[in-house]
Symmetry: C2
Subunit: 506 residues, 2 copies
């Protein structure tokens, strides 16, 4: 198995993980910062990944009975005020629209026209519970109107002071599901069903193992009764919250008067849920699979699967090689993979072969198939795998017929590799001393790569919060499959009935 002699990305993950992340995004042409503070530009290759994510998730939402709709970008301040915790959570970081016209200013430039000042300022939606709830209150009269199962694909804005491409940006793209139900049981089932959908997507499409769990009180969505989450481990062993599903109880329906006549003619409040994942998942993909040569894409979400690279020296060779490449591409594109067709294309751009090859490595194209006169003579192609770096000559027909299963194998392999990393870096800890040591960086040169996940007994107590704050650690979740086990909180010594997952996080 050949290995690349040098690395395309500098620094490497070991050297400086956060900077490696930025460099991979740049080298793989996924996105870049824009002149608008905190907002990013998602470039075509990054958009292609998000587009695939959207397509798959949208199908999953529809298969579970949801429909799409669209609600306004703006939310009147008075709507935000209705749910006390909710306003607390979002008022501090929102874009406020105060005027609807510009006019020439005293210095020649444009300024907001005071005559156009809005009576009630609007905020750009940071999430849509309040505006969607206002509509649901109109739509829901009787138990016959329930459940309402709606999803929205939208942009949202949360004013962030420290931003990072995909992981934390002022504007981001997401989907937000908002459902209303006649009973608590049904709403709770919806909440956990959608968490299962997210976990299925993360594991089977992103090849990213996740822990399904419930957030503790301090980490809940503002206004929720219960927040379920999927948590993934990145290669620096930090946790990334990849998707959340909230059981909102009757909090929002009380605040917004979403009520209905039940089967007995009694007026009662509806039970609501909301759930979302965002473009943050693209960042998770980078950090789960990327290596020191750039992006590594799980084939199922790669915008393209196979790049065919023609190699020739003369016009005569060119004609022969391109014709071979075209029929190869067409045959590949007829093959099945992941419920659709393989997506192969020919890169015949007039740039140096080495540079071209490295572009595709950095962008994480799963397979590269080089074709030169010598390969043609053997009816072969020279195949390179992005995941393992393996390069070898293969028979053309064998390649075509096995390409789909090879991509499947790569998808599985990436999942396994990520799972092994998480398992190798998750331990049970039962003493405070060990806990502190685990989360204290050993290497002052590289404070970013630390212990990993710790599974510990705990209790709700200010002393716990304080310790975690000091160590910059958070409780990621109480796993849904946590076994009942009596123990004592590692900080307070209070009795505990199950372990939670602790980690540093994004």
């Amino acid at each position: 198995m050949a290995k690349a002699k040098k690395n395309a990305i500098s620094p490497t993950r070991e050297e400086d993980y956060p900077e490696w992340y930025q460099q991979v995004i740049k080298a793989s042409d996924l996105a870049e910062t824009s002149p608008v503070r905190g907002c990013m530009v998602i470039k075509p290759w990054g958009w292609g990944i998000w587009e695939n994510m959207q397509r798959v998730l949208d199908g999953m939402f529809k298969d579970t009975g949801h429909e799409n709709a669209y609600f306004p970008l703006f939310i009147p301040i008075s709507f935000l005020e209705k749910e006390a915790e909710h306003v607390e959570g979002f008022a501090k970081e929102c874009a406020v629209v105060t005027h609807h016209r510009l006019k020439p200013g005293p210095d020649g430039g444009l300024v907001p026209d005071e005559a156009s000042r809005l009576e009630e300022p609007l905020i750009v939606r940071p999430t849509s519970e309040t505006i969607i709830g206002a509509m649901y209150a109109q739509w829901i009269q009787s138990y016959r109107d329930l459940p309402i199962l709606i999803n929205q694909w939208a942009n949202v804005v949360r004013w962030e002071m420290r931003t990072r491409l995909f992981l934390r940006t002022t504007e981001f793209l997401w989907q937000e599901g908002h459902t209303a139900h006649a009973t608590e049981e049904e709403a709770r089932e919806e909440t956990s069903q959608m968490l299962d959908v997210y976990a299925d997507f993360a594991e089977n499409w992103m090849a990213m193992p996740v822990i399904k769990g419930e957030k503790t009180a301090g980490e809940r969505f503002p206004g929720a009764i219960s927040t379920l989450t999927i948590e993934a481990m990145m290669q620096d062993r930090k946790a990334l919250q990849a998707g959340t599903s909230h059981f909102l109880g009757q909090n929002f329906s009380r605040a917004q008067d979403i009520k209905f006549q039940d089967q007995n003619g009694v007026e009662v409040y509806a039970w609501t849920t909301s759930w979302g994942v965002s473009t943050r998942l693209v960042g998770a993909l980078v950090m789960t699979h990327g290596d020191d040569d750039g992006l590594v894409l799980p084939p199922k979400l790669a915008p393209k699967h196979i790049v065919v690279l023609p190699i020739y020296r003369s016009d005569d060779e060119r004609a022969q090689v391109l014709s071979y490449c075209e029929s190869l591409m067409n045959e590949l594109n007829d093959q099945q993979f992941s419920g659709g067709r393989i997506r192969a294309w020919i890169d015949d751009r007039d740039i140096r072969g080495g540079e071209k090859n490295w572009q595709h490595i950095k962008r994480g194209v799963p397979l590269r198939a080089e074709v030169g006169p010598r390969d043609i003579a053997k009816n072969g192609v020279f195949l390179a795998r992005r995941d393992t770096g393996e390069r070898r000559g293969v028979d053309r027909n064998e390649f075509v017929t096995t390409a789909g299963s090879l991509l499947d194998e790569m998808q599985q392999g990436l999942y396994q590799r990520a799972l092994e990393l998480r398992e190798a870096n998750t331990i049970k800890i039962d003493s405070l001393e060990e806990f502190k040591e685990y989360f204290t960086p050993k290497d002052r040169e590289n404070p970013e790569i630390h212990g990993g996940f710790a599974s510990c007994h705990w209790s709700e107590d200010p002393a716990v919060d304080e310790l975690l704050k000091d160590l910059k650690v958070t409780i990621r979740c109480v796993p849904l499959d946590a076994e009942e086990e009596s123990g004592t909180c590692i900080v307070t010594g209070k009795p505990s009935t199950c372990r939670a997952i602790f980690g540093k996080s994004y």
Copy 2:
């Protein structure tokens, strides 16, 4: 051919066209107004139409070599200022973001926190030429970087004082293509290629005939050298501009410094284009095909094609009828239509049959297939067409095997009907008197339905502008296929070499 005895929509088109439009939107559950001024809520059935439009257009854009990307929602004021005509066009109707935090106000509610006032206000994009251009200026160095062919699906905001669902709303959804080219010729080709894509979509998917033409100077996009348009006639004989494609020349590249080294090493400005269609097309669909019973959907864009309506009186009947309906639905869903499968579903909701039937009529479902015990005895279904109102018993197997071609026939029929309406209401006019009479409503009771399109000789002259303003008529376009024909302007008598299309418009 049976006809509905009464109409589901009141008023009818003849009685009050604008009100009929609002009532159809409501009755068909496409959208409604929201509590946020000028912003609409697109409901699942309306979103399903837009989703189909997006899917088809997106495929067409990709087939013509475009990729999707995403640019920021916000635009700094200084960007807008760069192109003089552009700022003139958009500064008067934009949402201005001035703060990034709320705080409790003196009266208990929330107010913008003065400490969070932005140094430079941002506007919510009304269109993205300036922010995308700023990125292109960074991305384009050499002729090798060209062309750039990018499309974005996004929401945009133009502060409208008088709004109408889909046709004119403060926030709307659209796609905006933005391309940069090395030569004027290539950019002009792109501009007309995309107009052809729009015309193809309008005619072959929306079943809406359009006139391809060029806008006159006064009607151009702010900052464009040339604006191409597709213009459709609605059933009230008014024109609706359904899509535009702009050749921007070097206006924006000069304003934003989008320049590159050409093949001779000389630094030159790029040539840019932009083109867009929006959720306005959903309004166009309603007004082109709707009738006095509600929406009529061209099958190719209908979220669903066939509703199967089970009819039974007892539990015994129910089991038999539902089983028949399910196998019927499955067989229909295996049939091909419009490059995919037929979309049939069973509506077994527990509401009165008449009410249910009218819901589907109002929502424009192309075909309704009623199935009761008597139909089953004959191995048949009772079929109703939305377009013609025809209802008849048909053999089940014949129905299944011909459903795809029946939908095709309906699609064609809708196009023909719309084309005939336009042809019957387009005339050549060569005298000012006739022109005035044509555009003056005869019926004071119903001023909305007037002449139609007029094809006239014209000249660029203030006298023409004044007449048009008086009559509330605009020059829709100079058709691209207009024959050279010498004539004289109907207002000024100046010589003219071709006719333009005049009409009232949305």
